[in-house]
């Protein structure tokens, strides 16, 4: 009899040796005459368990992980392909693992379950039902459904997606575009990557529906060059979609048309900002454009353009399939639906945690994350990428909700949660925020370009113990100038991590204050 097993194939599983494991399993099976069918799934993104081998059984999938090559002999001895066997790495039924079971995986329902590049698998798991519905609906009805779902942009700014689409639908033009922002530059985030590597058809379907909704016939996925596997999987899936009349002319006989192409970024964080991204797609330097006009009116090549994050577009097939209400029923307040959080940094159980809005940051970090990887005390948490604030323990009970986070001067952004233990030097972290802005500023406005350079210098002086009080005040003023005077959130939000570090971890800045005289003499 043939036994079927699954070995993950996303970037992180591969970085932990999943390809080698798959090869060795295949070889051992051949040597031992075991009839194993090895499929490559995406990943469940329970990363501390990767590489996680799953085994199909009548009761469901049994898991074994994290598997090292040196474990394979004992796994074969235990006949792991039978599923419910005794082995130190046996995890039981994968879907019963609390970390996974307690999630609400709407967007990530298929991740790790299906073969990312199998259209049959995708369709067998509710894929393309949303498009099928959409093809029978008028553009306005589709836009209304997205509005009613309460979906807000997942790229950071949380702008209502339906309203953006309405603006583009209303704009008369001979050509409109759907642009997917797959620049995912925020440290601590990998949910977009997971969509593209593990379930690329979902993004293609979401973009196609967006095209129908606003009357756009051309889509671009602007993908960061740091994601080679996502590029490969997207291109393969797009090719399959074309071959199956799910892209291109006369989609499924509907008379509707949508083309899609992947374009690569080139290592510039600022190109995640939507207008910089559009400049880059046009083949230029990624200089931020002044708004208005909004990209929804004057976007790519001057035409009305929807720019949405991967996760925003990936949520659309579910909404069109299950209905706006099914999505809106999750969440709290004005934050509807789910947000795929990403636990990263010094965390014991890192990975993807898709949850309806509402639980506290503490629950996320401890009940899911299990605290720090090295067991030291957790001290600071940066949520929402390099422009997000650092939160001290007194703020960890804040509910995961856009408005609640705003109240404490923080952001949820794209859902990245980066945990630091008590060895972190928050003065050094603040310096890095400024340094990052120096490296990544588009250079268009002075507060951002010059301000960040000054910021690094001032923090260096403070950390060296020079005129600490005066320099701290200077740093505060500088932060305010950047917040008030920057054209976009790069310069406008870089002060968030810096100010939060000063406010909540001020002692780290003045550690060397007593050295001041000695240092002053040296100079």
């Amino acid at each position: 009899m043939t036994y079927r097993i699954h070995v993950p194939s996303d970037t992180t599983a591969k970085s932990l040796g999943a390809d080698r494991i798959a090869r060795t399993v295949e070889q051992l099976a051949k040597e031992q005459g075991v009839d194993l069918e090895i499929r490559r799934n995406g990943t469940r993104a329970l990363y501390w368990l990767e590489p996680l081998i799953e085994v199909d059984t009548a009761e469901g999938r049994y898991g074994f992980g994290p598997v090292k090559e040196s474990d394979l002999d004992s796994l074969f001895a235990a006949e792991f392909w039978k599923g419910a066997v005794e082995h130190p790495l046996a995890l039981g039924l994968v879907e019963e693992i609390p970390y996974l079971k307690r999630q609400e995986r709407l967007t990530f329902a298929r991740a790790g379950v299906t073969d990312p590049l199998s259209l049959e698998d995708y369709k067998a798991h509710d894929g393309y039902k949303g498009l099928e519905n959409a093809l029978a609906l008028s553009p306005q009805v589709i836009v209304d459904m997205v509005k009613e779902s309460g979906l807000r942009g997942r790229g950071g700014a949380a702008f209502p997606t339906g309203i953006k689409w309405q603006t583009v639908l209303n704009a008369p033009a001979d050509q409109k575009y759907i642009v997917c922002n797959a620049d995912e530059g925020d440290s601590g985030t990998f949910a977009d990557r997971l969509v593209m590597e593990c379930d690329p058809f979902m993004l293609i379907e979401g973009m196609t529906i967006a095209g129908l909704a606003v009357g756009a016939t051309q889509g671009y996925i602007y993908l960061r060059s740091e994601y080679p596997l996502a590029q490969k999987n997207l291109n393969a899936a797009i090719e399959t979609a074309y071959a199956n009349n799910l892209l291109g002319e006369n989609i499924q006989g509907s008379g509707r048309h949508f083309d899609l192409e992947v374009r690569l970024g080139a290592g510039a964080y600022i190109c995640g900002e939507e207008t910089s991204l559009l400049e880059s797609l046009e083949g230029k330097r990624g200089l931020v454009r002044a708004k208005p006009p909004l990209p929804a009116i004057v976007g790519l090549f001057g035409k009305p353009t929807v720019v949405n994050n991967v996760l925003s577009l990936a949520a659309v097939p579910f909404i069109l399939d299950q209905g706006a209400k099914a999505y809106a029923d999750c969440g709290m307040g004005r934050s509807r639906g789910t947000l795929p959080f990403q636990l990263a940094g010094n965390v014991k159980q890192g990975g993807l945690v898709e949850l309806a809005f509402g639980p506290s940051l503490r629950e996320l970090m401890f009940e899911f994350g299990g605290g720090t990887r090295n067991g030291r005390a957790l001290r600071a948490v940066q949520v929402g990428g390099p422009l997000g604030a650092y939160l001290p323990e007194s703020q960890w009970d804040t509910p995961l909700d856009y408005e609640e986070f705003a109240k404490v001067g923080a952001v949820l952004g794209h859902g990245g949660v980066v945990m630091f233990d008590d060895t972190v030097d928050m003065g050094e972290q603040a310096r890095f925020s400024m340094e990052f802005c120096v490296a990544e500023s588009c250079g268009k406005c002075t507060p951002c370009r010059i301000g960040s350079t000054r910021g690094v210098e001032v923090i260096d002086r403070i950390r060296a113990g020079e005129n600490v009080e005066a320099n701290l005040e200077l740093l505060s003023d500088l932060c305010e100038t950047m917040v008030d005077g920057s054209l976009c959130a790069m310069g406008g939000m870089t002060p968030f991590p810096v100010q939060s570090a000063m406010k909540h971890f001020g002692e780290d800045f003045v550690k060397n204050a007593s050295n001041a005289p000695a240092l002053a003499e040296e100079v």
């Binding site: 970037t11 992180t12 990767e50 925020d186 440290s187 060059s225 374009r263 230029k284 890095f432």
Partner: protein, 165 residues
């Protein structure tokens, strides 16, 4: 396997790449990528060809190249090793790894070892943030790279058979 991006400069090959892509809307970035993928950097000769194909000045093409960290105008070593410097990796020891890598290789960022095996580059996040520190070589990402794992990685790059073309 042939290492991508190691081909010697060939004007006709470059022109063919440019001709194939130049009619795409916003063709400049796709062309720059294709040239760098083929030749491992963007030679000055290519800039001239690109400028004339897209009816841009050479200064304009240079302006775009210099805006993006990914593009380079000098030949790198046989392998480009990118170390993630971003926060989630910092929280897992990336600063110590950076310091070790620079000392072990005897180079700073953007520099190439004397034996031309490795060019060291910084990168801001590889999307592998739950299992850092992360390092990229070619299309391979490596997880949980400490000093020892880094040395082993570099050793494997050094001893890898050199392609003779």
């Amino acid at each position: 396997m042939t290492m991508p991006g190691s081909a010697a400069w060939e004007p006709t090959a470059a022109q063919a790449i440019i001709d194939q892509l130049k009619s795409k809307p916003g063709a400049l970035l796709p062309i720059l990528h294709a040239i760098q993928d083929r030749f491992s950097y963007i030679p000055e000769e290519a800039v001239a060809l690109i400028a004339s194909a897209l009816k841009l000045t050479r200064a304009e093409v240079h302006g775009v190249i210099s805006f993006y960290h990914h593009f380079r105008t000098h030949q790198p070593g046989r392998h480009v090793v990118e170390i993630c410097r971003a926060e989630a990796c910092q929280a897992q020891g990336a600063r110590a790894l950076e310091a070790h890598a620079k000392a072990a290789l005897g180079v700073d960022y953007h520099q190439t070892t004397a034996d031309r095996t490795v060019t060291l580059e910084p990168v801001y996040c590889l999307g592998n943030c739950a299992c850092g520190p992360s390092v990229r070589v070619g299309d391979d990402i490596h997880a949980r790279v400490d000093a020892q794992a880094f040395d082993e990685l570099v050793e494997s790059l050094k001893t890898e058979r050199v392609e003779v073309r």
